[in-house]
Symmetry: C2
Subunit: 325 residues, 2 copies
């Protein structure tokens, strides 16, 4: 909906009708109400809480907030698929961890080596190619690979209620950014199509990149070296580097989003911080304080203490993935 149509809609309907019209995948609980009220007050010209469009910056975590993240972060599943695809030219991987476990289909074993193992898997599958080569590998994967449990394409495992939030905020003059621990060039391949977020509004972790002339043709080569980890205390740093100003709204689901939420909601004026709490073991997965993936512990306590909005997925959402009730 463009801004003019949107303004007309607001004028024609009463506040109650309007609240029922927007965010149709959200039940009419206090959770939805808190978001709608926030948006109403920051967009109301002349109100004490009014925020000019240039400062209407909203940031969204990706894994577990915009799309699912179980049984492993989807980008790790991409890395596993790449290890299998590349194995014929790496016979040594048959006996070398963490690759050997991946090739045996033992994902838990592959990740038993912790961060070191994960970095090895990422570098072997994400580096030593140009940016354009990497994008085309991800594009192929994201249009064909399917989730082991649901059989859906990964890009179909995005939360419909959150897609509605992205649209709703943009219809109200917000700029929406993704701020994720995931790889920045990985997400950029599908962010526009799936989330309506253009590549320059995606912030994520990265490996180093180097400019090179190859036979006089300029290319950007991805190096097997960590550049930036956009997680935890790294998220506000990633935001200041890329956006250059403090957001007024932040959406996350795990302790990795805590500092982003803290920094966003500590700013002056009206602020909105929301945590997606995975409570729906039937339509999705239920996990929080003890989960190795998407652990939500400290941030859940802080949400209570600071009166942030917490989504109870089971009760606040009437839809989960697009096309699936």
């Amino acid at each position: 909906m463009n801004k003019f149509l949107y303004a007309i809609t607001v004028l024609l309907f009463t506040a109650n009708t309007f609240a029922a019209d927007v965010l149709p995948s959200w039940n009419n609980t206090p959770t939805k109400k808190s978001l709608v009220e926030f948006v109403a007050k920051v967009t109301k010209a002349g109100s004490a809480d009014y925020v000019a469009p240039a400062q209407r910056i909203a940031v969204f975590d990706n894994d577990g907030t915009l799309w699912a993240e179980q049984p492993f972060y989807f980008q790790a599943l991409f890395a596993f698929d790449r290890v299998k695809a590349l194995a014929p030219s790496h016979p040594e991987w048959k006996t070398q961890e963490p690759f050997a476990s991946v090739l045996k289909g033992d994902m838990a074993g592959a990740l038993a080596g912790g961060e070191k193992a994960l970095v090895e898997l990422i570098m072997a599958t994400h580096a030593n190619m140009t940016s354009e080569e990497f994008s085309s590998i991800v594009r192929e994967w994201v249009t064909t690979a399917r989730h082991p449990k649901t059989g859906l394409l990964y890009k179909e495992m995005v939360y419909l209620p959150m897609l509605e939030v992205l649209d709703y905020l943009r219809a109200n003059g917000f700029k929406t950014f993704i701020v994720s621990g995931g790889g920045i060039e990985f997400m950029r391949v599908f962010s526009q199509e799936v989330y309506g977020v253009p590549p320059e509004q995606v912030i994520g972790s990265s490996i180093k990149t180097k400019f090179e002339l190859r036979d006089n043709v300029p290319v950007l080569v991805r190096l097997p070296e960590v550049n930036f980890i956009d997680d935890g205390a790294g998220k506000p740093v990633g935001i200041i580097q890329h956006i250059g100003q403090r957001p007024i709204a932040a959406f996350g689901n795990s302790d990795g989003d805590l500092q982003m939420l803290q920094w966003t909601c500590a700013g002056a004026g009206a602020r909105f911080c929301l945590i997606v709490h995975h409570t729906d073991e039937k339509r999705e997965w239920a996990y929080d304080r003890k989960s190795p993936i998407g652990k939500l512990d400290k941030a859940l306590d802080e949400a209570t203490a600071k009166h942030w909005t917490v989504v109870d997925m089971k009760n606040d959402w009437n839809s989960m993935f697009p096309g699936k009730k």
Copy 2:
């Protein structure tokens, strides 16, 4: 002008009238014609050279391309002013280089120490404060400090013909980005007001930033450590990090822009690369191959070899700074 008005303008006027109407500070030379023809072909729906708005990315160097850069980069002049302002609390600077030279007004002496001296000056004046503190210092400086030769505010020493190019491209559905060796947080303070470029579309050099809780208040602290140098081969890297795609148009003025121009114009489809050549010693400064600031040597040769557009400021522009003919 919005896109609808713009479309109507195009329909109502003949091509010649139109060419005279846009970019009024540009004389009707082949230089202007090359830009207008490029924009016409990439925006013409159905043409072989058509580029969708999402890919209409244009990148601009700042120092020497959008604003002047003599006798020193303006950000170095800001650092000099800060050294003077901070001197009372740093008595040791009276005898310690490069600070002692700055305090004596000997700018050349201050920079005689090369990169090491420059980094020392930058760290002493740009670090050890929060991002918000730094922005407010820059804001104060940019609204009050005046250029030693012209007496103008620095933000008044922007090239009117280039402001017209920024507007013209945006009216044609381009997104305009600044890609500068200058400090990213320095430029962001005035980029919206002066160039119409929002902070998230500014790319530049940076020092490291750290998230910290101070008495439970989250802040971002600027550390005295280089994070990224957005110059030379760093520019395409900065572009892929921030924009995530290759631009179709690039504007620069020195050898520091060479790789950005090479990478932009090596892409498939219609491309536009432009170099601003400082040839006007009367209204501004004339310099190129031998200049310590804004050296233009290799990039000028490459512009000839690759048929990039080269602006002869003296003959192609009928205006220089806004309000000054």
